[in-house]
Symmetry: C2
Subunit: 571 residues, 2 copies
């Protein structure tokens, strides 16, 4: 058997044309690409029964210039007054800019934009220079009942940035992106909300050079969107970083916050802990722009000691063994790893193929009884003090061995760490050839984990020709998250939406949270009422009414606060 | 010089008479006593310029039977309807019971009760049997606009239990004190709110015997009030235990809660983490009975491994050295001790005298340059996995040495651990002879700690003949708490109140939190508006209005929610 001569699809290497739909939905840097590997390509053809012929021509690339049919609805005086606040250079009304800041990175948005479909846009895009601008803008919009949307990094995967009711979008990343203060005594960093992950982390890592600090620091927060998400965005959507098992989730990292709301402005106090009643500082976390605009935030930071980092990876014989060992590790009271991930059998075996496990290793594993589509990969790293990282890694190895795992060294984890922020680049390549890759995630207690994984996976796999890979990547003594990656071909976006809704239904029915770290946005909003219950939703609405009596802050579905009963979904 | 023949005051050993004022304010078990040692007695005489003569006769012991001048104001139908809900055995209207459940353990309450003064009482004391009782009672009181107060362990030191507006008091500890479920997979415990510390901890420690569990567990929460406080009380007042540096504060331990409120009932979901918008589960923590009644709570628990516990104690040369070493320990990223305490110089030297440091040790310390009234004692213990506790103790020793400390072994810490819950018993003894001992506490970031300590201490010490001992006992990377113990003689309770208010003013002016773990109650309430700011207070009031539109839940000052402007204090 000779292999067919190599054919490789013409994955796009052209930066999207300026002003095009593709310039809006393309992930990451305009000329940054990470194409599916040959192994990926082979897998797609095999799984979907496709041939090279199906990859001859790209379709629906969205390279056309954005043209909107909907004119702005703000009147000329309103536009003039808003423009006067920030100056004409900080206001945009052109069609591309309005469309650009109306979208995040939700798969549905990519699918529609690639076909030239734009549904919801703001009338005016404003780049506030500082919190005083925000204050004046919000006060004006409150008085005039103009909807206010907030755009920071733009990495939302929950339709969280859609200006459903028009009005204005505030872009926080343009000017309000400064690192304001490092407090070494308290190990805190005060920043503007629009600072991107790399700028934030770089300032902390370079603290001696930048601030004459005694030490280097890390923010400890590395979501997959790290390069294109902001500190403010992490906080208001309750994000989690890949090292959250040690450093905590975004909400845990917040010391204090300053907000501008229609009801007024405030800053919470900075204490290591406090028992002065219910904490408004906590209440604002996850508010997703519905209560007000985050204009400054003080975060906990940690000592940066990369030389002490220790990587590890294991193969477990089964998913159950991987889960049980991981629970033992999370509950072991010996400290915690920073990154810790376990992949289910499908993710493990596809991953090994896709990322090139040498045949030698595969043969070794099979011989030892680690069977394909049963075995599960675990990888991670420990951070902190040198002796601590040695201890924690040793403990993890010991527990993993007890559950039948074989140690595979640190190479897999290091390789994962190097490429971890590049994965999202692939999705446009696939979309160009009619293949959709997307993810949904949940949090779940240990006692429901196996059942939830099975239930959601069964649903996804019952659809013909659909890939479903899952991993758990954020660990707590009480449970973990599950992150489902699915790949399939869909007739159109509505076909896709129906399938996606079915997954969310299953997650909820099996006792998973609607979201572990993606937030709610408008994607999860229809499920919120059934999920939290009407009583808790009513509390959120009461808080909303207090902060924002005219409902100008991110109206139109966000968090499910203002959905009509018929827009709600019962799983 | 011959010492005078030993005289020892006649510290009371009589249990308070049934039905007496003393039966209300006496701490702990009726026949439990821990008297001031001879060393304490000698110190009091010396510091206050007193002689044995001043300790010949006790005064204002409050041994009289409680007689109230205020009759109940609920009408007969209301009493009958409420009685019908729980049954006549679970309702009390007698004067003693009404007075008993109207008080906590605030020093002012002891001072007044010992003189037979009762200010605020409920009309009816009700012992609900289960959450359905609570539901019906709250609904009835909501309809009839009857104030509802909640009493659990009764250990409030913030006037948190005072039924200012009359109405009813619900006693949660009588029936609603059950341990409902241990979930070993999730390491959670579901309990009724009225379960006392020892019953809760005992059930967890004895999990194999009680629940056929695979392991033993601990709640990790040991406030000084442990024996007389409840799990529900810990949560709704945001308490902290003495091992909080490792296990976290009460708020951190909560997984989910169930509440009955005038607006309805709800239970929050159980997830290890979740990103579904602002968390009502967090909002309820610290609500101090103002939003509703906590009827069930699920807490995180931990593996109980007492054999691995390692104790340590050190002497630091100065307060500054102790603080800086402690910050280094809290920020060191090698794990954390469970108990960790540093005493300031006055507490250190008084403590050494009071708790009997051998002269040999004192001579050794002086020779090494650890001078009285400069040196600072540090003690604590590490819990968790065996190798982890070894590592953390070793790290702490190394850091302490770097800051000039001498290691004193584990004896001091073990001794402290054995007697730690007995200290409050002394206060009635002192009060019997006109001496007042009380505490105030705060939380503060590292950069304000030295200044706050100095400022508050100066204020206290500027009062003639006043003892001021302080320690920090709950550590975070961002700061710690300060716990001030002061002892003095006051002409009357008003004299005392003026002095106490001055301390709170100083705490606030120097950037401390109004409360680290005592909660707010009515004691701190007047400062709340200035502390949190009117904007945050307005948010709390909006939430309050939603849960409790008729303001029946714990009305009359609690949390400062319903104070008139003239009742507020600006420090």
């Amino acid at each position: 058997m000779r292999r067919a001569p190599a054919f490789r699809p013409d994955w796009s290497e052209e930066p999207p044309p300026a002003g095009s739909f593709r310039a809006i939905f393309k992930y990451g840097h305009p000329s940054g690409f990470k194409h599916p590997s040959d192994a990926w390509y082979a897998m797609l053809k095999a799984d979907f029964g496709l041939t090279d012929e199906d990859f001859r021509a790209r379709r629906n690339e969205g390279r056309e210039a954005v043209v909107l049919t909907r004119p702005p609805v703000l009147d000329a005086r309103q536009v003039a007054d808003l423009t006067a606040i920030v100056g004409p250079h900080n206001v945009a009304r052109d069609e591309f800019t309005r469309a650009r800041y109306a979208h995040g990175k939700t798969t549905e948005e990519m699918m529609e934009l690639s076909c030239g479909v734009v549904r919801e846009i703001a009338d005016l895009v404003i780049h506030p220079r500082h919190k005083e601008d925000v204050r004046r803008i919000v006060a004006f919009c409150h008085a005039e009942k103009i909807p206010v949307y907030v755009f920071a990094g733009g990495s939302s995967v929950t339709l969280g940035l859609r200006p459903v009711r028009g009005g204005i979008t505030l872009v926080m990343g343009t000017h309000m992106n400064r690192f304001l203060e490092l407090n070494e005594d308290n190990q805190t960093a005060r920043v503007q909300p629009g600072i991107l992950g790399p700028a934030y982390e770089e300032a902390l890592n370079q603290a001696p050079e930048r601030f004459r600090a005694r030490r280097r620091y890390t923010g400890g927060h590395f979501p997959q969107s790290f390069e294109y998400s902001t500190v403010g965005g992490w906080v208001v959507t309750l994000g989690s970083g890949q090292a959250s098992t040690y450093y905590g989730d975004a909400g845990d990292l917040v010391v204090s916050q300053e907000y501008v709301t229609p009801a007024g402005d405030f800053k919470t106090l900075e204490f290591p802990a406090t028992a002065t009643g219910p904490k408004i500082n906590d209440l604002m976390k996850g508010s997703e722009g519905c209560f007000g605009v985050l204009v400054e935030v003080t975060m906990r930071v940690y000592r940066h000691m990369p030389a002490n980092r220790r990587h590890f990876s294991f193969m477990f014989p089964t998913w159950l063994a991987a889960v049980e060992a991981s629970r033992e590790i999370a509950q072991g009271e010996f400290g915690r790893p920073a990154v810790y991930r376990i992949s289910d059998p499908e993710e493990t075996d596809r991953g090994l193929k896709l990322y090139g496990m040498p045949n030698l290793v595969d043969r070794f594993l099979r011989k030892r009884g680690f069977e394909p589509w049963q075995r599960c990969l675990c990888l991670g790293s420990v951070e902190g003090d040198r002796d601590y990282t040695r201890l924690v890694k040793r403990k993890i190895r010991r527990i993993a061995r007890r559950y039948g795992a074989v140690y595979l060294g640190g190479y897999g984890s290091r390789k994962w760490a190097r490429t971890r922020f590049r994965e999202p680049y692939m999705r446009e390549d696939l979309n160009d050839f009619g293949i959709t890759i997307d993810t949904l995630e949940t949090a779940v207690t240990w006692d429901r984990l196996m059942d939830l994984h099975r239930g959601v996976r069964n649903y996804i796999k019952n659809r013909p020709q659909t890939i479903c890979m899952a991993h758990a990547s954020h660990f707590y003594p009480q449970g973990t998250n599950l992150y489902f990656i699915f790949v399939g071909r869909f007739a159109n976006v509505d076909d896709y939406r129906v399938f996606q809704a079915g997954i969310i239904d299953r997650i909820q029915r099996r006792g998973g949270s609607l979201s572990h770290h993606h937030g709610v946005g408008r994607l999860m909003a229809p499920w919120m009422e059934a999920h939290l219950g009407s009583f808790q939703m009513a509390v959120l609405r009461a808080v909303k009414n207090h902060f924002d009596p005219h409902h100008i802050m991110n109206p139109g579905g966000q968090l499910g606060l203002d959905l009509d009963p018929q827009q709600r979904r019962t799983p």
